[in-house]
Amino acid sequence: MTPVLDKKAFNSLYDDIIDLVGSSALEDALRLALSGDLERSKPFLFRGYVDISNYAKANYMRIKTGLLDRHKCSAAFMVSTLNGLRLDKCAKLTKNERLREDIAIYVGLTALRTFIHGDNENYKNAGLIAFLDKNDGFMFPGTICDNQPYADNLATELYYNRKENKLSVLSLSHELFWVEKYNRMLSEM
């Protein structure tokens, strides 16, 4: 087993979501149910992340003992979130069928943004970091056929891919690559 992300650091990602839930406009029962589900899911999420990131390192990287690039690492967070969240109590109360997917998108983008901040030697990401700070995260392209936000399409993709057991770290990492590329391009305009 290779060294893994410190469990305390890992859990902080989900603690932030629990804080967001706490400050949300959800009714009390749903807020409590979701916070409880997130808290109970942490061990499954961590276990899943360790397995998926190690699988990605072993199978997708040329240098297997080296570093997993930030897009695959962030994708591993997303897949482990989609598979590991136990939304048992919350599912009985929420009307949002894509809540799991919305949480996974937040997790993936948060991991990616954290990497970009940390990977700023010689200020090479300074423009992108400033752009992300200004927008409180990543921008998505507008859709073409309707006015549905792009994030909804992404959530739909994740929803059906999980349902059909087709989640792929490689596919998600490529999508995250393009999201970063799109934002980098916008930041340079």
Partner: protein, 64 residues
């Protein structure tokens, strides 16, 4: 997950500094192994033990 052919590291991978960080740590002498998780630990630690939240409004909208 189905097994897929091993691919070469992508361009995006070689662009990022994760590998550079690995080289630097390896050359320090006191660190013999590193990976992205160890590197991410450092980033999170430098940020007061937290990740940098992205698009919290997307999630807050989902929580309405």
């Amino acid at each position: 997950m189905n097994s897929v052919p091993t691919e070469k590291a992508s361009e995006s991978c070689s662009e990022c500094l994760l590998r550079d960080a690995f080289s630097k740590e390896a050359s320090d002498g006191d660190v013999t192994f590193s990976n992205s998780d160890v590197y991410l630990n450092t980033i999170v630690e430098n940020n007061g033990g937290r990740f940098i939240p992205s698009n919290p409004n997307l999630l807050l909208n989902a929580l309405r």
